[in-house]
């Protein structure tokens, strides 16, 4: 084995120019593949994360049927679910909410708004609205005031200390109206939410909508997104599914998830074509190398080197080549990817609008996820392994007498 490794590694440096050109072509393939995948993963992660972390959370529990008919009548008593929060591994807390609509009005301006009744402490651990307070203060426990999103505040021309009026229809059709002193302004990265969100305390919301202590939503705050599907199943197993519906973020935003899949598949095809072309390049190198060294292979077989060892040697040579190209490609792409990871590309115009429709900032950050780099190495390795079937075949058939009759 040592002998074969020695031969293979020396053979690599025999035709330096060819090694260089082949390695360079692998380098470029890996470079582009990494760059494309990294930006794509990063962008989609950014989108999904924004939506999940700003608003939805990974898992929500509702009264069965709420998601398809999101009206204030579809509320449920949260106490059963909340009291069991410590029963589930991987769930740090249950965060109850009331989500509904209201007309927000101040002075002569009125605008439709999304009212989010939150438990200030629990919500601070989940979507962290406290960190987005731009002016004034975050809600305290049992607070009777409101936080209002920057865009909406600007529209209504309302500021901290002013009193916001909310008007809506509550539980079982009652009329709701209330006055809420503005405690603070929050700036939300999602342009959509920033134009319409009003936070009030959960207890206030119960009172305002007259829900008799009931809520529309419980967000299960999970510790590790990697455990998501397991947690969802255990919730479904444990809770009465006739009464509750348990949904993960993928079910809550199927459009986004679908769009991600379509987009990823598209670039997967481009990458496949890229690798296909590179594969032919490597194959060309292998063919040339086999032809050029036919005589030498003949000698090796004549003096007692078995086909298996010979094939292993050639396979190792190709793998070395692939490793050199892969490593170089990854090293070259690292600074670029890191730069765009730290300084995401900002979109403008139509593209930006498309992103904002999903309620996401129009940013294209790169992802530094190791699997992106690793995947390229795996693809190259598999490709070379497949390609080296040919030399193995060729070397098995090679007869020293023919090879050496030059």
């Amino acid at each position: 084995m040592k002998q074969i490794l020695k031969l293979a590694s020396r053979n690599i440096w025999r035709n330096r120019r060819r090694t260089f050109i082949t390695a360079a072509s692998i380098l470029f393939a890996v470079f582009f593949a990494v760059a494309i995948s990294s930006i794509q993963h990063g962008t989609w992660d950014h989108m999904v994360n924004s939506v999940v972390h700003y608003h939805f959370g990974y898992i929500q529990i509702h009264k069965n049927g709420y998601w398809d008919d999101q009206i204030i009548d579809n509320v449920f008593d949260p106490s059963e679910v909340v009291s069991r929060e410590s029963n589930y591994n991987g769930i740090s807390q249950m965060v109850p909410r009331i989500e509904s609509f209201a007309l927000a009005s101040y002075g002569t301006s009125t605008k439709g708004s999304l009212v989010l009744g939150i438990d200030p402490d629990r919500e601070a651990h989940l979507t962290q609205p406290d960190t987005r307070v731009a002016e004034g203060q975050y809600l305290k426990k049992e607070d009777k005031g409101a936080l209002i999103a920057g865009g909406l505040a600007a529209y209504l021309n309302i500021g901290v200390g002013d009193t916001l009026v909310l008007i809506s229809q509550g539980y079982h059709g009652i009329n709701s109206a209330g006055k809420f002193p503005v405690r603070g302004l929050v700036e939300l990265a999602s342009p959509d939410l920033n134009k319409q969100l009003v936070y009030i305390g959960l207890e206030q919301a119960k009172w305002f909508y007259g829900t008799e202590g009931q809520v529309t939503t419980i967000v299960a705050d999970i510790e590790d997104p990697g455990e998501l599907s397991g947690i969802v199943s255990s919730l479904r197993a444990d809770l009465d599914t006739a009464q509750y519906e348990v949904m993960d973020y993928k079910e809550m935003m199927p459009d986004l998830i679908k769009a991600r899949e379509v987009d990823t598949a598209g670039s997967q095809i481009i990458l496949m074509i890229l690798y296909f072309i590179i594969g032919f390049g490597i194959f060309g190198t292998i063919l040339m190398m086999l032809k050029e060294r036919e005589y030498e292979f003949g000698i090796l077989k004549a003096i007692g080197m078995k086909t298996g060892k010979l094939s292993l040697m050639v396979w190792l040579e190709t793998i070395f080549l692939g490793v050199i190209g892969c490593v170089a490609g990854i090293l070259f792409s690292l600074p670029l990817v890191y730069y765009f990871y730290k300084n995401p590309i900002e979109l403008t115009g139509k593209m930006a609008e498309a992103y904002e429709k999903f309620g996401v900032q129009a940013l294209l950050p790169a992802s530094m996820e190791p699997s992106i780099f690793l995947n390229q190495a795996v693809v190259i390795f598999l490709m070379i392994t497949v390609l080296s079937v040919y030399p193995i075949f060729k070397l098995a058939k090679l007869k020293p007498v023919d090879a050496m009759r030059a």
Binding site: R10, R14, K306
Partner: protein, 230 residues
């Protein structure tokens, strides 16, 4: 002295059928070669010297006839078994470009011993001994490209001898050498033939080489024309 037969071939024929007109390269050759011989196979170009050596060496298969090497019928062996057989029993010296270009002279000489998994100490000792025997102890670390044609052939002889094969087959080993190198190589082969009792069978056109042989087998048109001891 007891004679020990190392090569025994009987009625060997070889016909190349891949060509338009079949070529009868060997038309019934029977020979015995004993341990310690220093034998030349001679004859005009195309008479079948290379074909015969390839068949004896297990590089090619006869169309008909038997070959026994060390009393073993090698026609029964599979291709892979033949490779192992060559590794253990036969040393080859080809006309040129015998050596592996990426290995040093020393590494070339120990190559087959490494395939045989001989231990390091034995390998080093044997390699040094043989490099000295072919007068190249100072070229151990040279790559083939840094050696002259004559030096390369001497390394090839050392490599062929290293694993102590039953015999050495050399197809026109001096064809690309000048007369000094030719003499030098033959001196070495003759000495190793004596000292190691190594059997040498070589083909040649070269009268100077023929003059050094102790047995001369002349082929013509795929048949043995003369077989004489000198």
């Amino acid at each position: 002295m007891n004679k020990e037969t190392v090569i025994k071939i009987r009625d060997v024929e070889k016909t190349y059928n891949e060509t338009k007109v079949p070529v009868h390269a060997l038309r019934g050759i029977s020979l015995e070669i004993d341990k310690g011989e220093f034998t030349a196979i001679v004859g005009p170009s195309g008479c079948g010297k290379t074909t015969l050596l390839n068949i004896i060496g297990g590089l090619d298969r006869p169309t008909s006839g038997q070959i026994e090497v060390n009393h073993q019928d090698i026609s029964q062996l599979s291709d892979n078994q033949l490779i192992d057989f060559r590794k253990e029993h036969i040393g080859f010296v080809f006309q040129s470009y015998n050596l592996i270009p990426v290995l040093t002279a020393k590494e070339n000489v120990e190559f087959v011993m490494l395939l045989q998994k001989r231990d390091t100490e034995l390998r080093n000792k044997r390699t040094r001994e043989l490099m000295a025997a072919v007068g190249l102890e100072d070229k151990m670390q040279s790559r083939p490209a840094e050696l002259s044609g004559g030096q390369q052939q001497r390394v090839a002889v050392a490599r062929a001898l290293a694993p102590k094969p039953s015999f050495i087959l050399a197809d026109e080993p001096t064809a690309n050498l000048d007369s000094t190198s030719t003499n030098n190589l033959l001196d070495i082969m003759a000495r190793l033939n004596q000292e190691e009792e190594m059997t040498f069978v070589f083909s040649t056109h070269d009268q100077r080489v023929i003059d050094r042989a102790r047995r001369i087998i002349t082929l013509e048109d795929g048949k043995v024309l003369k077989d004489e001891w000198v």
